[in-house]
């Protein structure tokens, strides 16, 4: 059993107009096996939270903590965080020209496990995982994300999540831009990782649609860089019915 704890997290970015605070005190605790949904309007800071957990250099933590059990995540480099069991499925997966998926997956798996995966079983694992996510076999020979469609990129993020078996996964709008079939395939992948590896999940989404396939125990409404309200799945139903207006109004007053 592991715990990912975020406490009073403040994050700024440097812009041309100077420093801008985006996260204004986020507190959130996720345990293994839990699924938390973070919902909020565009620009509320959801991706900032996700990128900060992963350690993107663009985002400066000005105060607060992130811990993974007894590890100080903020002290760790990006790759150390991944090796410690954190995974970020990115909202916009990056194309890496000239690096094949096969090479990339094997290199990453080796780094995460600290040893090279067994050749025979690894190839089989990759093929099997690709099949389940309905990813064409020839993607293995293509360069990382290069020329993949939006939906393909998202599926490949989930493929990595399944192969790398993280303790905690942050899924940043993995559902956006997916048609209903792809949404189902991707959700199945998350549910598999959840039940097979007891993975803790932070599911960032703009829409409630994916919550028909992945059931969160906790829902957090994110507004203007902080959690405005938390509750159970019923909170998602309310958002579905009424939108974010109730949360936005006081912020604008």
């Amino acid at each position: 059993m592991s715990t990912l704890a975020i406490k009073d997290l403040h994050v700024s970015i440097e812009t041309e107009q100077g420093s801008k605070e985006i996260l204004k005190g986020v507190t959130l605790t996720i345990k293994s096996g839990e699924i938390h949904a973070i919902m909020g309007p565009n620009g509320s800071g959801k991706s900032t939270l996700a990128s900060t957990i992963a350690g993107h250099p663009r985002y400066k933590v000005t105060s607060g903590t992130i811990t993974l059990d007894d590890l100080d995540v903020l002290e760790m480099s990006v790759d150390e965080r991944a090796r410690a069991g954190l995974f970020l499925a990115m909202q916009y997966p990056v194309e890496v020209p000239g690096v094949t998926m096969t090479n990339f997956l094997r290199t990453a798996k080796t780094a995460i496990d600290g040893e090279a995966p067994k050749l025979r079983t690894w190839a089989k694992d990759v093929r099997g995982a690709m099949e389940k996510l309905k990813i064409d076999a020839d993607f293995a020979n293509r360069n990382v994300n290069e020329g993949f469609s939006g939906g393909e990129k998202k599926r490949v993020e989930i493929l990595q999540m399944e192969l790398f078996r993280p303790k905690f996964a942050v899924l940043d709008e993995t559902d956006s831009g997916l048609d209903i079939d792809a949404l189902r395939v991707v959700s199945d992948g998350v549910n598999r990782a959840h039940s097979e590896n007891d993975m803790g999940t932070l599911l960032i989404t703009h829409y409630t649609r994916i919550l028909n396939y992945i059931t969160p125990q906790f829902v957090h409404v994110f507004v203007d860089g902080r959690v405005a309200e938390q509750g159970g799945p019923e909170l998602a139903d309310e958002l579905e019915a009424n939108g974010y207006d109730r949360f936005l109004a006081p912020a604008q007053a």
Partner: protein, 429 residues
């Protein structure tokens, strides 16, 4: 709009520095794209029916450039000319003079398949000079100072399974060597020519490539000169009806290398691609100029040059001219140059010139970027547990690999890869 519209959208939100990093997903909003940091990058697309755009150019129109086979038409450059302003003329003086060969380069042609012949062509003997049109002083003196050109011909309808290797060796450093090679691929033939330059010379070597209708031709020009070699050259091709032409220039060795790779079309339905890869170390000047002359309708072109630089005064230049003439309706063209600067003290110039004289095109775009590592590439790999050093190695090899993969001749790809590994060791990659 056409292809260019989506390409445009994908490119404009691009990542940083070396980046072809299309971190956006077509059809989705661009919010969040600002993960990218500041970068020097310019990308544009033009085209679509009815739209007529003319790109501002850094010099005069390419259409107005003198082309001739007469030495008197080209003055000795001063360095102020558009086509010479980046070049180290002092070092190039020895190959720009109207001087005869002192010690010739040797040419060994390997591939004796039936259908391949190796002959000679005198100065005015056709097909020599039917495609080649000297566009600067270097080219014209090299042309006229070569009495006997080599003519390698692949007969019509011949499909070669093995490349024709032309081993070109400089025999004396500092000695002038002029040369001219005519590569001719008959109708519907298929051939790969690999010209590999080694040794040292003050080499002024021109090439003309005749790609007859329906032919499929690849020309690989490998510059693996010793470190004191000087090499100027113009490699012209004319692409026939429904023919395919691929030119790959790989420049690793030599003190000064300045190559012009040019394409034009004799009819419609032609496809041309020009790739380049250069790796400049301390003190090297590697200059590549490409010119696609869309002089007739419905042809396509794609130009991609990539460079890496390391060490004090490592210097590269890429100038990519694309001219879409009034007559060239239905043209589809794209050109891109990316440079990866590995250490301080290196300098890369990158200049795409796109001139469009008709709005009735399929698309035309250009992109250029020069910089250090793409932070987003590194972040993505590191976010998957790959340590920074290894991630850098993957990114730089990936960057260069894109061109190596385009060579298409396995034995050459392997040796180029090995050379690149040796280069990368210098800067500790």
């Amino acid at each position: 709009m056409t292809n260019s519209a989506s390409a445009d959208q994908a490119e404009q939100v691009a990542g940083v520095e070396v980046g072809e990093a299309r971190i956006t997903i077509p059809g989705m909003s661009e919010e969040g794209e600002n993960l990218a940091t500041a970068h020097e990058e310019t990308e544009h697309s033009h085209g679509g029916l009815g739209e007529s755009t003319v790109k501002a150019k850094s010099g005069g129109s390419r259409a107005d450039r003198t082309t001739s086979l007469n030495v008197a038409d080209f003055a000795v450059p001063t360095g102020r000319e558009e086509e010479w302003r980046f070049s180290p003329l002092k070092k190039l003086g020895r190959v720009l003079s109207d001087a005869a060969t002192q010690t010739p380069v040797t040419l060994k042609v390997r591939n004796t398949a039936t259908g391949v012949t190796h002959g000679e062509l005198a100065l005015a003997q056709s097909p020599r000079g039917t495609v080649f049109l000297a566009a600067d002083r270097a080219a014209v003196v090299g042309y006229s100072q070569t009495q006997t050109a080599d003519h390698i011909k692949v007969a019509a309808n011949t499909e070669l399974s093995e490349p024709i290797f032309l081993d070109i060796t400089g025999e004396a450093a500092g000695h002038r060597a002029n040369g001219h090679i005519v590569l001719e691929a008959g109708n519907h033939s298929k051939a790969v020519f690999v010209m590999e330059h080694r040794g040292s010379a003050d080499a002024n070597l021109n090439v003309e490539v005749i790609v007859r209708d329906g032919a499929d031709v690849t020309v690989v020009s490998l510059q693996r000169w010793d470190e004191d070699a000087v090499h100027v050259g113009q490699q012209d091709a004319e692409v026939g009806r429904d023919a395919k032409y691929k030119h790959v220039s790989i420049t690793l060795g030599g003190e000064v290398v300045r190559l012009n790779s040019n394409v034009r079309y004799s009819a419609e339905g032609g496809e041309a691609s020009m790739y380049g890869l250069y790796f400049a170390d301390a003190g090297q000047h590697l200059e590549h100029r490409s010119f696609v002359d869309h002089n007739s309708p419905r042809n396509s072109s794609n130009v991609l040059y990539k460079g890496a630089l390391q060490g004090q005064d490592a210097r590269t230049v890429w100038v990519g001219d694309v001219l879409i003439r009034k007559a060239a309706e239905g043209t589809d063209s794209y050109e891109k140059n990316q440079n990866l600067i590995l250490t301080d003290g290196a300098r890369a110039d990158s200049i795409p010139n796109l001139e469009i004289e008709t709005g009735l095109i399929e698309g035309a775009g250009h992109a250029s970027s020069t910089g250090r590592f793409d932070e987003n590439h590194l972040f993505y790999l590191m976010a998957r547990g790959i340590p920074e050093k290894e991630a850098r190695q993957l990114v730089v090899r990936g960057f260069l690999n894109e061109i190596v993969q385009a060579i298409g001749v396995e034995s050459i790809e392997d040796t180029v890869q090995q050379d690149l590994e040796n280069e990368l060791k210098i800067a500790g990659f």
